[in-house]
């Protein structure tokens, strides 16, 4: 005999969440409801004397299958709410009628059956299941192995993208970048020479001009950068009093250093 309380708990725990399949909008909610159903079923199995199956149910369904569903949902966009309006004419009616008919039919045929429960104490235990599994059903087990291989191969064929372009070394990457006209040296960090360590302050070049691209593009798009000119002014004020004398666009200090390196005497 089965505990009545257990039955009603299981019934509530399975039927109510499973209705989410029909009425909930967000797939994630549905998946979580189905997880509940699976747990409910696991409880039912334990109550029906199949503890091994109960555990397997939790491990396989809630642990693996439903999590896989959730993963795929995340891949395809986790918060897509479904528009519940029916697009196929009459489908809603047909669906409810057919499914309802199926339910009524099944319940009535089950009700019609006259099955006397045999009162035996044999309940499922892992040892008993294992005994039968590996004697009577050993062939099925082996075929299941092939089935799992097939599933794995299938999943790989349909989802695995191998490397299609050859992997490039750092040297090649660098060469390609230079060929494309990129700056060979590192970009300055934001705030360099600007006497500021905030991310939104552009670095200053040796002339003291702000380098706008040293600030993250994200900030730029959000218009959250500071004005570089402002920090330039600070520089002029404090550090380089004779800077004023140099007109805009005059030979930079860069040129000076190069000359120096070339061996000429600085002024």
């Amino acid at each position: 005999m089965v505990s009545e309380v257990l039955f009603w708990i299981v019934a509530a725990l399975t039927v109510i969440p499973s209705l989410a399949l029909l009425f909930a909008k967000r797939p994630v909610h549905i998946a979580m409801s189905i997880v509940l159903v699976m747990v409910g079923l696991a409880a039912a199995y334990v109550g029906l004397g199949a503890p091994f199956l109960g555990v397997v149910q939790i491990v396989v369904y809630t642990g693996a299958v439903m999590m896989m569903f959730l993963f795929v949902m995340m891949l395809v966009g986790v918060d897509n709410a479904e528009d519940m309006r029916e697009t196929i004419k009459g489908q809603k009616w047909i669906g409810f009628l057919a499914a309802g008919g199926l339910g009524i039919l099944l319940i009535s045929v089950i009700g019609d059956a006259s099955i006397e429960p045999r009162l035996t104490d044999t309940v499922g235990n892992p040892e008993g299941v294992a005994m039968i599994l590996f004697s009577e059903y050993v062939l099925v087990m082996e075929v299941l192995g092939f089935l799992l291989i097939t599933a794995a191969v299938g999943a790989l064929v349909l989802t695995h993208v191998p490397r299609l372009t050859p992997r490039r070394t750092q040297v090649e990457l660098q060469a390609a970048r230079v060929l494309a006209g990129a700056n060979p040296v590192n970009k300055p960090m934001p705030g360099v020479y600007a006497r500021h360590n905030a991310l939104d302050v552009p670095a200053l070049d040796p002339q003291g001009q702000p380098i706008e691209e040293s600030v993250s593009r994200v900030l730029e798009i959000r218009r959250q950068t500071q004005d570089g000119q402002e920090f330039r002014a600070q520089l002029e004020d404090t550090d380089n009093p004779d800077h004023e004398a140099r007109p805009h666009g005059a030979p930079s200090r860069d040129a000076d250093t190069r000359n120096t390196r070339d061996g000429e005497e600085p002024k």
């Binding site: 089950i110 009577e136 062939l139 064929v157 299609l164």
Partner: protein, 526 residues
Amino acid sequence: MNFVTPEIAWAPLTPILIVLGAAAAAVLIEAFIKTPATRRLVQLTVTIGALAVALGMVVVQWVGLGDSAGTVVMTGKITVDAQSLAWQAMLLVFGILAALLFAARTADGEESFTSLGSVPPGSTEERLARRAGLQVTEVYALLLFAVGGMMLFTCITDLIFLFVALELFSLPLYIMVALARRRRLLSQEAALKYFLLGAFSSAIYLFGAALVYGSTTQIDMESIGIAIDFIPSNDAMLLAGAVMVVVGLMFKIGAVPFHSWVPDVYQGAPTPVTAFMGAATKAAATAALVRVMYLAFYPLEWELSWMFWAVAIASMVVGTVVALVQTDVKRMLAYSAVAHAGFILVAFAGLTPEALTALPFYLLTYGLATIGSFAVISQVRERAEDGGVAAEAVRLGQWAGLGRRSPLLAGAMALFLLSFAGIPLTAGFIGKFEVFSAAVAGGAWPLVLIAVLASAVAAFFYVRLIVLMFFTDVPEGAQDTVAVENDLLTRIVIIVTAAATVLLGIVPSGVLNVLQDAAVFLVSAG
């Protein structure tokens, strides 16, 4: 509880083990051979070799049978008897022919399968993959899994094991359907539909099996058959369960109203896959249905006969009538397949012993013509703007004047169509004759009458294609839009199937006599 080492007669399972073992080996080959071209060659060799050796083993078993009906491999689970050996041999033949079609390439060196199944159609990655010469050689492994599953399907005597085997051959098919090289969006759509409906139907099958288990406490077919004798046959739960089990199998056969997947999947799948599943799935499902009906539900013959009549008539009528208005060759043949599902179910009337000969023969003739005709379809291609070969030319109009372009190819196609139509001197005629005689022996002559009428109407659309090929001129300005391929492997398949279709039409007695010996089930219990 002491563990009893199971007694398994392994020998009769050798063909299946060879095929499944080769499938596992094929997966390993995928991992170890890197060059696609070499891999293709090795896979093809392994596949055909394994299937051929398995076929040889089946023949050895057959010869070894002698007067015995077969061997119980494992009580209540698998029984290899003459009937299942006949089906297995047929499936292996289909498998070999399909493997040849799988490996076929166009003049441009293009296969039927996409170069990479995981990237979106038309994307840069797809182009890169194509340029890199990638090939989905996993299809050979999948083919072997499918053939192995189908072979198991024919000899299993346990409803749950049957479910496992059903999935074992269905999963590879779902995947292969999605792998067409051209028109991949259609191919993926077909795979999704096939998968969803397939899973739906196997759930129905499973619930039915559970109900049958509930009402008989048995799950192996013979014990179910015996148990049914001891319970009132109007046990509603048993009947509902039996109906649901049969529905699951009829889905695979493609009978109305469980046929909706057939046209879409036949059209969308890569043509070699269509050829394979058109022939082999139907055969395997029929084999299983025969076993289920003759072993498990034999006592329910009267109750279930209504279902068989209704479904057979609906299939013949719907298949024929809708095929009349099709404009796509593959789709037309798909609806013809639905009609043929009806003809197959006709033979189940009365569950006569004659049907045990008629059905394998019918499925053999139908399968050969199916593989042959789809092989022909794979050879008729559209020509792209730049003169290269493009996708298959499946619009009916594109077949006009094919008889002028390629008389032999068109002639072979005409032969297959005539065989579908059941015209004398083709294998299809003998097949229909046998099936109808079996039904008449079962007392179902009104059903046979409808079947004969349906085949008469069906002849119209087959002949229409023949007329189109031979007596219609190529439309003006369309001379260069169709290219006829000339692939060696495909030609071999076409020649073999055409020769078999003619031979079975003229000298069927040899095969029929063999199948008459196969018309026995090994009944172990009772």
